[in-house]
Amino acid sequence: MNPLLLFVFVLAIYLGLELITKVPSQLHTPLMSGSNAISGITIVGAIVASGESGLLATVLGTIAVTAATINVIGGYMVTNRMLGMFKTRKDA
């Protein structure tokens, strides 16, 4: 286990807090569903777990891959759909 990850963790949290300070309210929902899709990155861990040997780990991993994929695909697609509806007078 790599304690350096703690360093990355703290820096990434700080970066995240700095990155998204002023968000217009019309973007609140897309920001939420879009960032939610990013949290589906846990799919990487799920793939590793599901592909390794051991029955229980494989079962848990496969369910995890399914759930994470729903999170990723559903999150990106629904965000894209929502953002497609936001129009300014120019494009309308």
Binding site: M1, P3, L5, L6, A12, L15, G16, I20, P24, S25, Q26, H28, T29, P30, M32, G34, S35, N36, A37, I38, S39, G40, I41, T42, I43, V44, G45, A46, I47, A49, G51, E52, S53, G54, T58, L60, G61, I63, A64, V65, T66, A67, A68, T69, I70, N71, I73, G74, Y76, M77, V78, T79, R81, M82, G84, M85, F86, T88, R89, A92
Partner: protein, 461 residues
Amino acid sequence: MEAWQTFAYIAASILFITGLKMLGRAETAKRGNAVSAVGMLIAVVATLLAGGLDYTWILVGLVVGTSIGAIAARRVQMTEMPEMVALLNGSGGLASMLVGWAEYVRADGVVTFSAVAIVLTVLVGGLAASGSVIAFAKLSGRIDGKPFLFKGQKVLNAAILALALLAGLVVALDAALVGGVTGVTVAFGVVLILALVLGVLAVIPIGGADMPIVVSLLNSYSGVAAAMAGFVIDNNVLVVAGSLVGASGLILTTIMCKAMNRSLANVLFGGFGATVSAGGAAAQGEVKPLTPEDAYFILEAANSVVFVPGYGMAVAQAQHVVKELADQLTKNGAEVRHAIHPVAGRMPGHMNVLLAEANVPYEQLVEPEDVNPAMETVDVAIVIGANDVVNPAAKEDPSSPLWGMPIIEVDRARTCFVLKRSMNPGFSGVDNALFLKDNTRMIFGDAKATITAMVAAFKES
């Protein structure tokens, strides 16, 4: 880890950061979402190509998950977005929890640091998963949206959290000393179950009007769970991406709390509205009902109209007729705006999404601080299914639970129409003095039917 894989994960992390930044600005949001999706694709492909994996079950999971996710994203109604976001949060939290569990099963004699990470992954992931399911059930009306409170609730929650942490400590310490013993397995099972129980207990005391805060907080949790899973499998990209989501969810949560002038602790433990019916002076005045036909004559003469939508607009699916009425008013020469309170509806930005669906131009959407200063010049403010966010008690009555909350001050408009089914108070259970003000006219009935009647009156003239 191979060097190329590290590079791929770095690229993915940069794309997530860039994408998230672009998602925060209207002009770049759509591209930002695509950028972050490319990052995800790179991360997944790099993981699949790492070798040493049996692909059979991975493929099954990917195919099933893609089908469910794609169908849900295409079919979901915009009015159901809060439920959709809750479910997506839940599946992310569940996945992280299972990753932690699977790693626990796989690891014989894990070192303490990993065991701590596994326990935290399971705890936060499980909490996000079951909490999201309860939030979904409340939002979709499958269970009562009112706060569910009982005596000693806070004590019980604190005790369960303490017990979960204690069991987690047993897992972490014992794993370092001896590795997989029956006692440790039992302790791990306790952590797993208590995490799910905590998620349920954390969300049931929270009322409908506070849902925007809960939904964004659960979003934050699912990110933190993914970051913890990154510690478990020793992977930077999970830590970076998870932390970013955790931070952005926290920012949204803070914005929501500020919009209600309440602290996070007050929302999480408050059970707002369940205990307040006694507070607040009784409002004076009488209800002045109006028919949609009479409302037409006032609207016809108006030069400036502000719509104030709330959750009731979503329930009545009235966003399309609102757009129609707005078009009629514009054609009639009136200036039309839609004032959106940050916590109107059941999730952050709920009303914006619905009005965007109805093709309301972005320029007509304004925030409370944009309309409040010149509210006296507004001829008609039309409140559609909003309640607490227009309640004047927030600035007039220090004993009201809403006291201090920034509101849209429609009571200062020349005339205020309130479209409502009945005189029942809003989700918070607080009476609304707005309904009894001299310049307020109540238009009872289904909001969609009422507005349709107004549009018809415009078309006939």
